[in-house]
Amino acid sequence: MKVGTFDTRSGAIARALATPKGVIAGGWLFLVVFVAIFAPYLTPYDYDIQNLPNAFAPPSAAHWLGTDEFGRDLLTRIMYGARTSLSVSSVAIGISVFCGMCLGAAAGFFGGWFDRAVTVAVDLTWSFPEILVALILVAIMGPGVTGTMIAIGVAYLAQFTRLTRAQIMAIKSETFVEASRSLGAGHGYILFRHLLPNALTPVIVAAMLATGDAIILEATLGFFGLGAQPPTPSWGALMSSGTAQLFKAPWIIILPGVAVAVTVFAINLFGDALVRALDVRAGLREA
């Protein structure tokens, strides 16, 4: 197992960006994140001010991507939608990474019945489709962005628990850990000084890829009317309202879907480039 330190990791991003795929994917992701952060300054219209007589206007000079059923500028709403979709999915994955690493590290480090219980639980939840897990959790937690973040976070928890545990198990018996232990280092020291930093690299890559899946999951929850509350746009909510206008104004459903697909595609490409640059075992993304 390769040992990645923070230096090699930041170097890896540079190396990933040096490939053509990496540049294109990275460029798109930068653009999306930039738009998401600075949406209020970049958009020509308000995302929530309705102009009912101007509903379903096709793309034009004034509205590059047309307007939605309330006459709101679709480009503005897609840009604000990037904000919701990206923040929900990245916070959600943040939750899964944090909790997953804690659980996985504890399971891998301490072993025994705790490890077995975690493994069984993780195997089970991991094999359920994330959408079902998320739907049930949203039902428990109630509507709104917070509930959605937690639900998506839990849906992907298993993946990171599994990954961290595997990493810890692999490194636990390496000589430098044994050496440290024989020098009298405590559990906490070994865990935080040696094991977790070394387990971090694959987790970062996996987290990046999972963020892409989380964007799709958020969109799917939006299709069921869950997640961000109106009038806040999210890519999923935009597509959901667009289904009714499939003939009248197909751009309302097509464009946010393209935004989702291209962004998730870019995340995956960039993830791949990162995997190669980091020289993490390629199979890890399936773990």
Partner: protein
């Protein structure tokens, strides 16, 4: 576990076999109809036990009494009836020569056996006022009442009082309405795949249709397939591509498109649904009747009708659907858009316009939680309501819940405002939603008012005749509106969309909703 697993496997095999053998077949003698999306998933064709009954029920089961579009009552399986002066007895003369799908005769004994079957069921309240049923002769029965029930005819006309064959009902038990359904209707059930489709075949002996329809004999189509499609856009696409012939209820989003298409035609009838906004009178700022009235007057019903529903339907100004006699109230009690008055009322109540377009009082902004269901139609409507409230300086924060959860939330009494709808065509809906003993849910507005309770008691139990009931409910309805716990918004029509190259239907319909009265007149297109 064994038994159920084996059942599942068996069913898998059967259904795979069915899929191989069934080719898509569209004969002129067969029509494919899509049920309304809110009727999807009906678990059984059982009027006594069922809590959700789809339109196909009316094709299988006939009722004693039929209703016209104006909510008047007409004979169907009952030829005539008479209510005793004191309301303590009803006598029904039954139609002769009617037989069930299984050959059993329909007569007085049927009714004597049928009414007690309701006992202990979800629908028992329909016959709760009946003490016993007496057979006077072969075709005459008398209901002896525990207390007068001015709602008797309404109940008898409801889908839940379609008459099943009592012997088969008892013999089949839980399978009744699942594997077999025996009624007297114009069609018999051939197969039923829950959530997917129901196939009906014509009852060739049928000669007892309601006089409200043109055709009182056997139906024109040999077979009807009722399909269930939950997703609105999918249902519309099926109609548009010729995959199905009729949509019983065209989703409101697609009404204008059905109107535009050459081969498609829209038949609209007054529905039973009413959409409204409700306010919790026990929660600030709606403890102030002026604020309630202002919010109610801020709703621009016409704008909603034109822009959300494409001008199809009616702008509502009472809490009851306009077809009901109790909806004919004095004009001053009707609630419709008046932004100037809304603004004036808010000023008077001390809410002054703040810098960001939200009114303020004592340093607090006029912000309220606005709840609704997570379905796309509710979300869309509520977004417009939110914008309209904002126009008079009320800022609403939308929260959406699924339909079961939102009821639970209402029980907490924490709601401030909600956008909802109900489907019902009887004035007792006012009692259901504003009765003081059902706070939280269904009384979402937490409305408790001594005068309203007096009027309510008079309407619910103090009415001896139908006319008296109408007068009492009108007064109760008027009074509730005058306290502004609610703002009516919209009354949808049911738009039946059909493919004119495949089926033909009369241009006007004399029924309160789409039922056998409508569909028995459906014929193959020439």
């Amino acid at each position: 576990m064994n038994r159920s697993i084996r059942g599942c496997l068996l069913a898998t095999g059967v259904s795979l076999a069915a899929m191989v053998s069934m080719a898509p077949s569209v004969f002129a003698q067969e029509a494919v109809i899509v049920l309304a999306s809110n009727e999807v998933g009906q678990p059984m064709y059982n009027p006594i036990k069922g809590t959700l009954l789809n339109t196909a029920n009316s094709m299988i089961y006939d009722r004693l009494v039929a209703q016209d579009a104006e909510r008047g009552y007409h004979p169907h399986l009952a030829e005539s009836w008479e209510e005793a002066e004191d309301g303590m007895a009803w006598t029904f003369k039954l139609k002769q020569g009617v037989t069930f799908h299984n050959g059993e005769p329909f007569n007085a004994q049927t009714i004597v056996d049928w009414i007690p079957l309701f006992e202990g069921s979800e629908n028992a309240y329909l016959v709760a006022a009946i003490e016993k049923v007496e057979k006077l002769d072969e075709h005459t029965v008398r209901f002896v009442m525990k207390h007068p029930d001015p709602n008797m005819l309404y109940n008898l006309a409801s889908a839940f009082m379609g008459v099943p064959e009592p012997k088969a009902f008892v013999a089949l038990g839980d399978d009744f309405g699942v594997t077999e359904a025996v009624g007297t209707g114009p069609y018999r059930m051939e197969s039923f795949d829950i959530g997917l489709e129901t196939v009906l075949v014509r009852n060739e002996d049928y000669t007892w249709g309601t006089p409200l329809a043109e055709n009182t004999g056997p139906a024109k189509f040999e077979r009807l397939t009722f399909r269930e499609i939950a997703e609105d856009s999918t249902a519309y696409l099926e109609l548009r591509t010729g995959g199905v012939d009729v949509l019983l209820s065209v989703p409101s989003d697609f009404l204008p498109e059905v109107k535009q298409e050459d081969d498609l035609k829209l038949l609209t009838i007054q529905g039973r649904e009413l959409t409204y906004m409700v306010m919790n009178v026990t929660k600030e700022p709606f403890t102030d009747i002026n604020v309630r009235q202002a919010a109610a007057l801020a709703i621009n019903q016409q704008e909603i009708l034109d822009n959300i529903y494409n001008g199809v339907g009616l702008a509502a100004d009472t809490f009851l659907i306009s077809a009901l006699p109790e909806a004919k109230i004095a004009d001053e009690h009707r609630i419709s858009y008046d932004p100037d008055k809304a603004n004036a009322l808010l000023e008077e109540a001390g809410w002054k316009m703040g810098p960001d377009g939200v009114r303020m009082k004592d340093g607090k902004p006029l912000e309220v939680a606005l709840w609704t269901q997570s379905d796309s139609t509710f979300r869309r409507l509520t977004e417009v309501v939110q914008a309209q409230l904002k126009a008079v300086g009320i800022s609403g924060q939308i929260s959406t819940f699924d339909s079961a959860m939102i009821r639970d939330q209402y029980k907490s009494g924490e709601q401030q405002m909600a956008v909802r709808s109900y489907i019902w065509d009887n004035a007792d809906i006012v009692d259901w939603f504003f009765g003081a003993d059902r706070l939280g849910y269904p009384n979402i507005s937490m409305f408790v008012d001594p005068k309203a309770e007096e009027l309510r008691a008079a309407a619910m139990t103090g009415s001896k005749s139908s006319a008296e009931r109408v007068a009492n409910f009108t007064a109760y309805h008027e009074y509730v509106l005058s306290q502004f716990p609610v703002s009516p918004i919209y009354q949808p029509v049911i738009g039946l969309g059909y493919n004119t190259t495949r089926v033909s239907l009369p241009d006007s319909i004399n029924a309160p909703d789409i039922n056998s009265t409508v569909l028995i007149d459906m014929a193959p297109a020439e």
